[in-house]
Symmetry: C2
Subunit: 138 residues, 2 copies
DNA sequence: TCTTGTACTTGTAAAATGCAAGTAAAAATA
DNA sequence: TATTTTTACTTGCATTTTACAAGTACAAGA
């Protein structure tokens, strides 16, 4: 990512998180309350260890996540969202909404069911929740 | 894409368009009125010819775009959005909004300036416009 | 002290991408 | 009619990225 392809905000964004894994890690953080390497590794999509390490490093570099030692366990790291990371929630929700609409085989859980008629509210609720967490941690 | 990583709608979506180029082609179609191989090739991001051919084929297979011979020129093809493709607009707009917010060096054009305060309206306007086009072509 | 938990790193093969060149058919031009 | 241009790819090959399996390092717990 030394030199940008263009100044288009869409292109710039895709250069950072336009791949099959980065947003999936953020999904785990935002919607599933995950926060550690081991937890990310357990997701059903089975990310490789080297890719996970690479993406976590990227997410930290890009300041989507911050990394700190767990107070309970000094050999464990906790990854938390920044405001910049929280602001990606609307993108993830839109992707989920689209995916839920066009993949009938995807079982719809609570959020999925709410999306067709109250997407805005879902985004607001989760943003609020994540921002509260953010405040507590600072 | 023989077997899916999981049934998560986010994961399924990213398996299709989670890369650096697919959404950029759709940007050109949705926001810049482009519709042919040659036009896509001219974008400032400089996509390779083989990648463009591969992605157009994917977009057709996934039914995001339909392909037909140009009435004016039989050696030219016109790619048009399907409803399924038009439904990706909110994702693209959210990505643009995020990118415009966090990349101060991206020059903001009309849409970019409107996004912070009237994102919903922008999505509605463009959806309307693209759906009108869709109707005209059918 | 030994085992477990946690977070990686390394090696290597496979797949995707980028770049340059070539192909083929229709359209425009001489 | 012959030639050039336009349009949309395809092909070959080097580079980069990814996937998979294995190994490493350090802290915590028994």
């Amino acid at each position: 990512m030394l030199k940008k392809r263009s100044d288009c905000p869409i292109s710039c964004s895709l250069e950072i998180f336009g791949d099959k894994w980065t947003l999936l890690i953020l999904r785990d953080v935002m919607l599933r309350g995950k926060s550690s390497y081991g937890e990310f590794l357990q997701s059903e999509e089975k990310i490789s260890t080297n890719i996970l390490a690479d993406r976590l490093s990227l997410l930290e570099t890009e300041e989507f996540l911050t990394k700190r030692v767990s107070p309970q366990n000094k050999s464990k790291f906790i990854y938390s969202l920044t405001k910049k990371g929280i602001d990606l929630l609307p993108i993830i929700i839109e992707i989920m909404a689209w995916g839920a609409k066009y993949n009938p085989e995807c079982p719809k859980k609570e959020i999925g069911k709410r999306l067709p008629h109250e997407k805005e509210e879902v985004v607001k609720e989760y943003t609020q929740k994540l921002e509260n967490q953010f405040e507590k941690e600072s």
